[in-house]
């Protein structure tokens, strides 16, 4: 037993474990040093956690799109960040118009509904045609080809929207009812963060129930497992792939609005970093696994928010917050070293076997 284990270890494994081990060691050391120093109070930590949850739930929503598309097509849709961008960028013009006519201030709830509706429709439409035009003709091509196409589509969409709306950063109008803070159990929370977290949770519950409980949701899972067998059940495989892109597009569009509510600005390049982060989240959770992508997103948001202060401050790094992206990708490396299938990736591994 021990012998078998010893034989299966290669020098690469040992090097990887050493890299992983030293990263872990630094994290633990940094955290202990920070906590001993006591520079941050409980209030700070609570703020970090809530911000992290809000940011993470946005990643989680985007990540479901990556993971579901991977499920049905076994490809990474690198243009998904642009699907995310297209919605809120377009909805900005609706929001600005409603702001000018005071509709936004007088009927903030209705206005928000309109913003969501516009953003989700645009993202959904883009996702739908992206699949039809760019990916469907390549069905059955070697895996590298759709991947390169996806990167091309990503650039195409970025510059399309830059051409349409210009390259400037547009400031989203402030929705007054979402400003300010609430006291919940004696904890001070910014209103828009609560709204972002609750809306994201609602959307994720809806999406997961759809996939698990409905006839179409089950068919999407069937197509993820075996396209030929699905066709033999009378399932329209191409239709289900389209549906998957539509659902992913809806989630991305909604995530885009939440992102705009949090950061109050949009521009043509806004999809790039969240897109890569959400992809990371999907891999963290075990690509192909929907609850995994959700957990991965929330985990990544939390780590990014808490991590710089917790892990790096104690190490004496001067501007730890600049390094939050480095932390996100370090997490990816750690997970890939210690658990290559992702946090919840067992099922996928079993499937491949």
């Amino acid at each position: 037993m021990f012998q078998r284990w010893k034989d299966s270890i290669t020098p690469t494994d040992i090097v990887m474990w050493m890299i992983g081990g030293s990263m872990l060691l630094m994290i633990v050391w940094g955290s202990v040093a920070t906590l001993v120093e006591g520079k941050y109070t409980g209030r700070h930590w609570v703020d970090f956690v809530i911000f992290g949850l809000a940011q993470g739930s946005i990643y989680a929503l985007i990540a479901t799109g990556y993971t579901m598309v991977y499920g049905v097509l076994r490809m990474i849709n690198f243009a998904h960040g642009e699907v995310f961008m297209s919605g809120p960028f377009t909805a900005y013009y609706a929001a600005a118009a409603m702001y000018r006519t005071d509709f936004l201030d007088n009927h903030p709830f209705m206005a928000l509904m309109v913003i969501f509706l516009v953003a989700m429709s645009v993202s959904t439409t883009i996702a739908f045609f992206l699949e039809k035009v760019a990916y469907r003709p390549l069905r059955g091509a070697p895996r590298l080809i759709p991947l390169i196409t996806a990167i091309g589509a990503s650039f195409f969409l970025q510059y399309l929207f830059r051409g349409l709306y210009g390259s400037g950063v547009q400031a989203y109008p402030v929705i007054k009812v979402l400003e300010g803070q609430w006291m919940i159990f004696g904890i001070r929370i910014l209103k828009f963060q609560v709204v972002v977290i609750l809306a994201a949770i609602l959307l994720m519950v809806g999406l997961y129930s759809f996939i698990m409980l409905t006839r179409v949701g089950k068919a999407i899972r069937a197509v993820s497992e075996d396209k030929e067998a699905s066709a033999l059940m009378g399932i329209n495989v191409d239709g289900m792939i389209s549906t998957t892109f539509v659902i992913g597009g809806m989630a991305a569009g909604a995530a885009g609005v939440l992102y705009a509510l949090m950061f109050k600005q949009v521009h043509f390049f806004m999809g790039f970093i969240p897109g890569i982060k959400a992809f990371t989240a999907a891999v963290l959770g075990g690509i192909g696994n929907i609850p995994g992508a959700m957990l991965g997103g929330i985990f990544l948001g939390l780590i990014e928010s808490v991590g710089p202060s917790l892990f790096l401050d104690g190490l004496g790094i001067p501007a730890p917050y600049q390094l939050k992206d480095a932390i996100a990708f370090t997490m990816l490396v750690l997970v890939l070293i210690f658990r290559p299938t992702g946090i919840m990736g067992e099922r996928l591994a079993v499937k491949k076997a």
């Binding site: 006839r215 899972r221 030929e228 066709a231 033999l232």
Partner: protein, 237 residues
């Protein structure tokens, strides 16, 4: 008019020809078997019928209607359902969810429920495991599920691709009994088997396939007596 007619079909995988001028007819209510060795083209024949592979030449007719050009998922709605080789159940879906997928084309919830009960009646083992994830079923149970799944739409004709493959003798008997039961209840069956003895025991007629060509077509009785068949497919010397 025959229920199913495969009419001078030629089929290719890329440039390799897998079927050469195949013609098969199946009358309503029959059990017809297709026997032949590895790579003879048995699965390919079923795939061209169910629409997974387009024939380059020839036609497939169901009750006289041409279904050659229909996509696979629409062929299912015409009443032709295939149980693929190697079962191909959805391993991550539960037993019930697999059956739901079998009934995907049926929008009537009550009918789906009735069909599920009918499948559970035929295979009580599946009922006990209805909430289990199908990937953890035993091989025999998976075969039962694959057949049950195909019965969910009450097909006119069932195409079975080696349903006895890899099963213990007791289970092979059970599967063949079930095929007989389904046939008695009115389902027409086209059965692909390597187990020629069992297949000819249950079928009315049979076709012998070799390297994409039909060698023989006759009643089961005559094929059973045929010396070449006995030698090549029943292991007699």
């Amino acid at each position: 008019m025959a229920l199913l007619e495969v009419d001078n079909v030629h089929a290719y995988y890329g440039k390799i020809q897998a079927l050469k001028d195949i013609s098969i007819t199946v009358e309503k209510g029959e059990i017809v078997t297709l026997i032949g060795g590895n790579g003879a083209g048995k699965s390919t024949t079923l795939k061209t019928i169910s629409g997974l592979l387009r024939p380059k030449e020839g036609r497939i007719l169901l009750e006289g209607k041409d279904i050659t050009e229909l996509p696979a998922h629409q062929i299912v709605t015409t009443g032709v359902v295939q149980v693929p080789e190697g079962r191909r159940i959805f391993g991550q879906l539960t037993v019930t969810e697999n059956l739901d997928m079998g009934g995907f084309t049926c929008r009537n919830k009550k009918l789906i429920k009735e069909n599920i009960d009918r499948v559970f009646g035929l295979f009580p083992r599946l009922k006990e495991r209805s909430r289990q994830v199908a990937g953890t079923l035993s091989g025999g149970e998976q075969q039962m599920l694959a057949m049950g799944r195909a019965m969910m739409t009450d097909p006119k004709i069932l195409l079975l691709d080696e349903p006895s493959m890899g099963l213990a003798p007791v289970l092979v008997d059970l599967i063949f009994e079930t095929i007989q039961k389904l046939n008695d209840a009115g389902t027409t069956i086209l059965l692909v088997e390597q187990n020629a003895r069992m297949a000819l025991g249950i079928a009315n007629r049979g076709y012998v396939l070799q390297t994409g060509v039909i060698l023989l077509a006759d009643s089961s009785e005559n094929l059973n007596k045929n010396e070449m068949v006995r030698k090549a497919y029943m292991g007699e010397s």
